[in-house]
Symmetry: C2
């Protein structure tokens, strides 16, 4: 079956969506049949494909309706090897009114089993926060990548995040692992940044061999450098490879995809 | 009574906390008795004062307990004229289990009436998202400032945000106005940024005189430039004025406070 990866970080604006889109696009170019799933009611993901949120169309939100829409009807073709399921504002109801509903945490997992055969990798773009939508992604996923900035406040959030991964792994999804941290919006010249990167590395090192879901979590290389092209691309409805395939942002996501693929080949 | 201002943006990582702390600190220095209230379970605000989250201490979270703690017990002294109410993880229950409880939206407003006499301005640091905690802030506030980045995805979120402000103004808080947009992490040399700033300005212009809560919303000057010192300060438990009072970040927040004060003198 496909590898299913949740891009998770409760802190906002750290690069989850930008990474889901551009790592996904790079994996698709390397030949993997890739599905991106937007679990964020802000529905930013589809903007990177020039697709407007359409409240009428089946989306991740309508997977939670009674009756739910069929997941096959939700899939939109983006590029060769690259499809996505858009979100819409209806998804916000899941965190609000539906949060208490019995069985709400496994809706995404069950929906994805129906299309698993068609894909080699499925990336789940999480909203900020650790609510019902993020739990749905963690319950459906095999592994977690954590996009984060090498900044002090981001480091503080990492411990809390790993605690939530552990909670889901202890209950709803015993095979869940956190396999990678992805540094986003990286300022290579900053000594503060270097200090935080060392802290992250040290934090991950101390858990090698421990009985925690992040015992094999690696700091994936390279860091994705801050590059304004990555912020511009969605305003043109494009992934970074269609917008400016030679810029540093494209370079970094291409090399990140290679690191992810070689990590997967070892395991 | 005091001016009560919600710092709101459902998008994460746009500078809400950094602005609450440093705009607040600048207002305190100019002589206003200032209270900062952390409405985010990530409880980043108190880190800027070198204060660790303490699950035992009264906090914004315990204002929602049954029985609630007394708001006077929650207040921590930060600097001259500058106090704050810290958050803790208990606050996360409000968006989860307590979200459906009757009367939950007005808890903060009612608590703040008890300490109103002691302050000239109260700034409410909102979490990302537009859930029960943000609604509490909007119900307690007189006005809303919107910290945002001059980036395409941020612009898309602005319309949705203003819609929520309108919803609360129509129901729970008829006097609520959105009075200012604050540009954060601003890249002054970016042409993409300039285009987005023009778009924001045009968006606000078209609502002058209209019957909406943002008819007098202005783009506050100056934009807060991207400055790594602002990211470093909380790792030393300091506001920007204690960390590096001459850096561009301190300069910009000082001038922003002057703009806010002169806006308030006109009205
Ligand atoms: N490496 C980068 N360089 C420059 N800008 C970037 C980079 N990565 C992301 N951005 C921009 O930063 C902003 C936040 O990124 P993004 O939306 O991917 O974060 P997110 O974690 O998905 O946010 P949210 O929590 O709101 O879902 C966006 O405007 C995006 O275009
Ligand atoms: N002008 C700036 N220059 C450089 N870094 C900044 C600036 N403003 C904020 N930051 C850093 O960017 C990150 C996000 O800022 P901040 O935490 O204030 O955003 P937020 O909107 O409160 O996020 P959240 O939605 O998670 O509460 C932090 O690490 C902060 O230190
Ligand atoms: Mg996102
Ligand atoms: Mg914050």
């Amino acid at each position: 079956g496909p590898r299913i990866v949740a891009l998770l970080n409760q802190k906002g604006g750290v690069g989850k969506t930008t990474t889901t889109v551009n790592l996904g696009a790079a994996l698709a170019v390397s030949g993997l049949r890739t599905l991106l799933v937007d679990m964020d009611p802000q529905s930013n993901l589809s903007l990177h494909f020039g697709v407007e949120t359409d409240e009428g169309r089946p989306s991740t939100g309508s997977l939670f309706s009674q009756p739910p829409s069929k997941v096959e009807d939700c899939i939109v073709k983006g590029r060769d090897n690259l499809s996505f399921i858009p979100a819409d504002t209806e998804l916000a109801l899941v965190e609000g009114e539906l949060a208490g509903r019995d069985g709400v945490q496994t809706v995404l997992r069950d929906a994805l089993t129906k299309v698993a055969k068609k894909f080699d990798v499925i990336l789940l773009d999480c909203p900020p926060g650790l609510g019902v939508l993020s739990v749905n992604a963690l319950t459906a996923a095999h592994e977690v990548f954590v996009p984060m900035q090498a900044q002090y406040l981001a480091l503080r959030g990492l411990e809390k995040l790993l605690g939530t991964v552990q909670l889901v792994a202890a209950g709803l999804n015993p095979n869940l692992v956190a396999s990678g941290v992805i540094l986003c919006m990286h300022e290579t010249l900053s000594s503060h940044g270097k200090a935080v990167v060392d802290e992250i590395r040290g934090h991950l090192e101390q858990f090698r061999g421990a009985d925690v879901p992040w015992r094999d979590c690696r700091l994936l290389a390279p860091p994705i450098r801050r590059n304004i092209k990555l912020a511009e691309a969605p305003s043109f409805g494009k992934t970074i490879f269609d917008y400016d395939s030679k810029c540093p942002g494209a370079e970094d996501y291409r090399r990140l995809a290679e690191s992810v693929l070689s990590m997967w080949r070892e395991r």
